[in-house]
Symmetry: C2
Subunit: 680 residues, 2 copies
């Protein structure tokens, strides 16, 4: 038998601590990782707090900025079944922490018993005991007015008991509400327990800005911004795109890597191995003689040009997100300066990226098992720090799942320590547990499998898991219908209706979403190879010029979607997603409900791009705060149409040739918990 189990119970050095605290929520792996919240959020904490016997337990929520001096305290309220709750709000960016403290409260226990006593002798005796407890509270109160008041109360109660007052009189004095509340303010904490979760000293919270929870991304290649076939675009050209992106209602503009592009083993158009001299190469082959991750490709402009673009973007309500791809082209300066950061092949040459039998000879990955890992980590975090210093606050990180987890946990914490407003998007299209781990260790948002989830069953299962599974505390989905790497099969063959339904699904199912444009809004659907997902004539390997003013463009439709997102808090959070029953497998329906049901949006999407589909949609009026047979208005935010609905079942029909989606705001006289009626 282990001696470990024969000593005092874990974490206790005083056996008189009778209270236990269990099952604190929210928590990620019992405090090993932070939960994620945004500025202004209220965090509701619950815990099981219990003790032996019938004594009364009291507990408080403790919370503070991470590591910052004294705890703030909020009394927790009982929910029944030994569960308690309290809430606090986070009003600054950065780390916060919370835990729970509980104790068996002698004064509250006395009070609970005293109320139920009936025998006069018993009540007098108990009154004397109570007076002693109040006296102790007075001592704990120190010398102030409250101490005096408590002392006087104790004297009054004791004197009445000694004088033989009757039960009613003694209970009137002893159970005095106002003075009891004062006494409760000075509890006997000698046997209080401050809960330490298994994995940490408290439960951590990462508080980010609201954009970490809700954002609309537009990706384009700056080098294609010139608008003239064959001319390399520049940051100056990008400035001209800002109004276009703003009109569509996006808030983040994301650029593929902007650094010098390797010349050694550069890839040609359509990913060929024999480039022409004027081929521009892949921006993800980072680095050339003129510089690496902290340099800018000459053709795009200077650092000053970039900073001017950042400023102009801000003036259009847009932020620029940079793509950080931690890998090197063979001519990246680090390859010469720090060969020790790379793995070697048996012949001494540096190991290029590979996934046999595939070879990526234009890319050298870093070796995260190098003995020089500390220097490598410093250099890599320095890349973020450099661009943060230039004013960038959002990073899309390329393939973070091929770099060591401990590096990311360290690097993200390090950046946030001085710049808690920096947002990191994880581009990890990989195994689910790897994606979750990256989210746990700090990435603000994550790419998802949405790109390949097409059917009602797939979408329902996936978004139920995302919004209700354990990941809801740390994994913030960012849904993309396409990326420069992925032209999904559905977009290749479904036509305009599929582009509409896919972007509408992304924009309404997830609080953050993005598109790679103008390929998306211009319905680009030509694949390099049948059965593949690569774009034909991909911008990854060549310049493109786009007919942004095409009458086919979905720009206006996307603008309407983003407008709906901006106007409806329900669409700005991943919480509050409820799938609805509709009796047609080609129609998917869901509601998004904001906190306190102040905003309800119902979406219906026709997943069949070729035929009108109709069905009966079921809602639970009670869950929406409606009376069973109440009439309510559904306002379609896409078409502007108004529908008068009532009760639980209503008819929906969507013609993909016109518009395959309803995004409807529910407008009704609502029943509120407090029975106060109002119009939404």
């Amino acid at each position: 038998m282990s001696t470990r189990q024969a000593v005092m119970p874990v974490g206790l050095d005083d056996g008189r601590i009778r209270v236990v605290i269990e099952r604190v929520t929210p928590a990620v792996d019992d405090g090993r990782f932070p939960i994620k919240r945004v500025l202004g959020d209220t965090i509701r904490v619950e815990a099981d707090c219990l003790a032996d016997g019938h004594d009364v337990v009291a507990c408080v929520l403790l919370w503070r900025r991470a590591g910052a001096g004294a705890w703030s305290r909020t009394p927790m309220l009982p929910m029944g079944n030994d569960r308690w709750h309290a809430s606090f709000s986070v009003d600054q960016l950065g780390g916060w922490e919370y835990t729970v403290s509980a104790w068996v409260d002698p004064f509250l226990s006395w009070r609970s018993d005293f109320r139920r006593r009936v025998d006069p002798d018993d009540v007098r005796m108990a009154a004397l005991g109570g007076a002693a407890l109040v006296q102790e509270a007075a001592t704990r109160a120190g010398g102030g007015a409250e101490a005096g008041l408590l002392l006087a109360w104790a004297d009054e109660l004791a004197a009445a008991a000694v004088a033989g007052a009757d039960v009613a009189e003694l209970q009137r004095i002893g159970l005095d509400e106002a003075r009891s509340r004062i006494a409760q303010g000075f509890p006997d904490l000698r046997h209080a327990l401050v809960h330490r979760p298994g994995a940490a000293a408290s439960y951590p919270v990462t508080v980010e800005r609201v954009r970490a929870r809700c954002s609309s991304w537009y990706e384009f290649f700056p080098r294609s911004a010139a608008g003239v076939p064959g001319r390399h675009g520049s940051f100056a050209d990008c400035e001209a795109w800002l109004p276009y992106v703003q009109r569509m209602g996006f808030d983040v503009v994301y650029f593929p890597p902007i650094h010098p592009i390797g010349r050694v083993r550069r890839k040609g158009r359509n990913n060929t191995l024999d480039p022409r001299p004027d081929d521009v190469g892949s921006p993800w082959a980072v680095g050339a003689a003129e510089g690496g991750h902290d340099a800018i490709l000459n053709e795009l402009g200077t650092l000053a040009d970039f900073q001017r673009l950042l400023q102009r973007a801000g003036e259009h309500g847009l932020e620029i997100a940079l793509d950080i791809a931690f890998q090197c082209s063979p001519d990246h300066p680090w390859v010469r300066q720090h060969p020790e950061w790379f793995r070697r092949r048996a012949d001494g040459s540096i190991q290029y990226a590979e996934n046999p039998p595939k070879k990526y000879q234009d890319i050298y990955p870093f070796d995260f098992e190098t003995p020089h890992w500390r220097a490598l980590w410093q250099a890599l975090v320095g890349v973020f720090e450099y661009w943060v210093a230039q004013g960038v606050r959002i990073f899309r990180v390329d393939n973070p799942h091929t770099k060591a987890f401990p590096f990311w946990e360290w690097a993200i914490a390090r950046i946030r320590a001085h710049s808690p407003d920096v947002i990191f998007l994880s581009e990890a299209f990989t195994r689910p547990k790897v994606m979750h781990r990256l989210a746990k260790i700090g990435f603000s948002q994550s790419y998802t499998y949405f790109t390949w989830r097409n059917t009602k069953r797939e979408l329902t299962a996936y978004f139920t898991e995302l919004t209700q599974g354990p990941g809801r505390e740390y994994f913030r989905p960012n849904a993309w219908p396409n990326t420069p790497d992925i032209l999904p099969e559905a977009l290749q063959f479904g036509g305009r209706a599929v582009f509409m339904s896919r972007v509408a699904l992304a924009a309404t199912l997830a609080a953050s979403y993005g598109i790679y444009g103008p390929a998306f809004e211009l319905l680009e659907h030509r694949a390099l190879r049948a059965g593949g997902e690569e774009y034909l004539d991909s911008e990854k390997f060549e310049l493109r010029s786009w007919a942004r003013d095409s009458p086919e463009s979905l720009a206006d439709f996307i603008a309407v979607l983003n407008c709906a997102r901006r106007d409806n808090p329900a669409l700005q959070s991943d919480a509050g997603l409820h799938f609805l029953r509709i009796d047609n497998e080609q129609l998917i329906a869901y509601a998004k409900v904001s906190a306190e049901r102040s905003n309800i949006v119902v979406c219906v999407v026709n997943l069949d791009p070729h035929h009108t589909q109709s069905g009966w949609l079921e809602i639970d009026p009670d869950a929406f705060g409606l009376e069973p047979q109440q009439a309510y208005q559904m306002h379609d935010l896409i078409t502007g149409a108004h529908f008068l609905w009532s009760g639980a079942r209503n008819y929906v029909s969507l013609d993909p040739a016109r518009c395959p989606v309803h995004v409807m705001q529910l407008r009704a006289r609502m029943r509120r918990e407090n029975d106060f009626d109002y119009f939404l």
Copy 2:
């Protein structure tokens, strides 16, 4: 921002440890409390083990006696989705522990890539790299035969590469299975992670004897054993009961407290406050002038008599369980010797037990907040130690929920440290989380709410929670249809059929159960008061003499139930319970399935004591290893009847006037996972 988050990730001092380990199961509160198992059990451990990138991860299960030197190691096997499993068996009583170690394995990663390479130059280069890895493994293997073999293999592979061997030849040499397995035995563990759960250094296991998992209890009052009205029974009288209890098939005989009974404020018959001089008092009023918790009531006999009874019980295959009630009568010696272990009222008198307005003036509870708690704990654990020294190995603990949790965790661990065969049953009829906490901190078994769960819905919900909820790893139910404190309403009014159905439910739903007899088998159903649950003329306050040979007795029925329990492993475990659909609310049906489906018992109980009830029972033939339309035999272990069933739906009818239960063993030619047919 907290500095905490800006340092190295938790638990890491080498950033090259790329592997992570998560979600290890089984575990109770991530290792804060032990899982419970019994001797001979196989423990299947699962964990998520993953790393960045495409390198191959290897992991092992580490396990050992708690704190005992070197870990045993078992390779874990992949289950898909980054989850791994391995098992170990526990062949000694006491504490065990396990955890998981994982690493990114360079040799396995090389092997995985090497198999997929196609380019001859590439394969030759990789062969040289592989030879170097094999050489490193040889170095780790030390100087033995395996080292020599590996060195030779490395040389062969390198020589072939240098000589320009073709791809097939290099892959034949490099992928050699036998030699690869040897190399795998000497892995590169420089960057291995040994998982430390949040709450502990490893995951603890408490291994008890099989009776902790499966036991049949018979409670009776030794003082009623004389069989002659008015004569006080003795341990010698109890000896004569042993064949009776044995014939019924029980394995534990449990006695209410056997200590001297307090005379001060002794309770009279039927819990009255004015006892007659010859009233015997409540055995739970422990202690009198002649002794306390380590003394025996004179009338029962001497310590020698008790030890003889223990021995005789053993000869009948029975164990004696003692009731430990940590409270004192006012004349318990400790009240005089250790007044500091009790709370005082305002007048200096010792505080009796109370739950206002109720008073229990014959009982003094201990004060677990006394400054002298250490001495109190020592004295209380000394009570267990004394009776353990006399040979007692099972304790039923009275009201453990009114004593401090830390005491129990410490005391049970302390007893188990020298006597790991001791079993503790928690008599905590209280709030669910308190009951669970007591189970977590060490009690082997727990009383349950079964006593008040009567309907199909109640029983289904409750036993589903018990057998499938988180408690399944630590909360072992012990189901009682009655106790000396509880004559449930159902037994008061339902007649013989309810006694039969209740004991059959207890004996088949739970692996451990018990009855308070002879009140139970003799159908005692008279309550002290209408609407109450106290027995009239309760043995708690007076002697009773029982007509054990009554023709009404259920002794034979109970014997058949216990025989079925003894013959069917499925009934000896709480795992493997599956409720079955049956289209009649008065019929409840369930299967118990042993590990590997080697034993299947199907029970059907008519919950209506007054009418025959019939219905169609549904089973899933596939889940039972049967072909869809296969015929199979159901052998009723109560009546001996045989039914030939087939397929998924079969008819059942139960007449409560005859027997309200089927306990049926399924006998069929089974389909096994390995397609080997056999007769059960």
